[in-house]
Symmetry: C2
Subunit: 191 residues, 2 copies
Amino acid sequence: MSVIFRKNLEKFITLNDQNFDEVLQYFDHKTIKKKQNLMEEGDYCSEIYFVEQGCLRMFFIKENGLEQTTEFAIEQWWMTDNFSFERRLPTTFYIQAVEPTTVLSINNDKREALFKIHPIMEQYFRMVYQRSYAASQRRIRYLYEFTREELYFHFEGQYPEFVQRIPQYMLASFLGFTPEYLSEIRSKRRS
Amino acid sequence: MSVIFRKNLEKFITLNDQNFDEVLQYFDHKTIKKKQNLMEEGDYCSEIYFVEQGCLRMFFIKENGLEQTTEFAIEQWWMTDNFSFERRLPTTFYIQAVEPTTVLSINNDKREALFKIHPIMEQYFRMVYQRSYAASQRRIRYLYEFTREELYFHFEGQYPEFVQRIPQYMLASFLGFTPEYLSEIRSKRRS
DNA sequence: CGGGCCTTTGACTGGTTTCAACTTCTGTGG
DNA sequence: CCACAGAAGTTGAAACCAGTCAAAGGCCCG
């Protein structure tokens, strides 16, 4: 099963049916309801998550008590607090389902074991991280290059369907401004 | 040679003398003067760079003509425009030496060849990218969490020696504000 | 020793936040 | 299936963080 995971693997590497089945054995399936947390502040973030269906968001709690969203993950995206995962330290983030969501998960130790038996998975993750890092680099550039208003129009241009999919206050948070200001931006364009 | 590269490799993997020599053959040495560019806007960013000695910065030119610094790399850091490198597209960044600098470089094709002969290097780069991505994730969090003033104090606390090493206007640019504002922050603390 | 680059200072400006009040949407229980 | 309460979105006024501009001072390197 997990057609979508296989599809994602095949973007980077080739695996025959038997090898895919073997690889899949290392992963667990999890189903979470909307608003349910997959990970909370203080947890050891021992796993990484691959979204099969649905949408996750990562956020932390700011000084003033507000939730600051830093990432979204939809189908075929990996998500975790990499710092906590790698250093085996407690996380300061939450991972929450924006919609009913199913994920594949694997912990650090199991993944190391997987790498030993299927070295091609090392290549797969090297490529996944290379892309993720590249995306992250680009995002940092946008944060420097664009005003908040431009960030919104740029994001809307790149992911129009996703903008429809999530509540505005989450999008505002992700783009680094307030829901009130997003309202203002949207009303400006209407006129 | 290249004691420092070997030192870095050994943080992640083990290689005997012979294998290290073989690996090193795939890399080129480059020496660049202060203010010289290793890469310019429009270039195909075909290589990745490992800093042996010195300091690089990556920047792009904003609409208003100003240089916006997005990254620094000192000894033992890798630097490249990953997006351009991976997709084989022209870059929109510059990479420039802040000090006289020596780097190791390798292009995409050579690196693929290296992975074939020394699969352990695939593991090395998987780990390097995992860390880089984690660092990038943390940096994005800081950009959301801190005011510009807090960003400065936080950075100064984490890298006090590096703050001394580079001109203030570059640091201000990297932290996302103007040299004037950095002056203001610094004068506030003096009083 | 001089010129240009870097840093500092101050006045003014504006993009974005904060706060509060109001309206609209949504989902859950009766 | 409707009612209603809480959540999400809108609007406007006041405040503030940080940018812009201009001018002066300091310092490095040729």
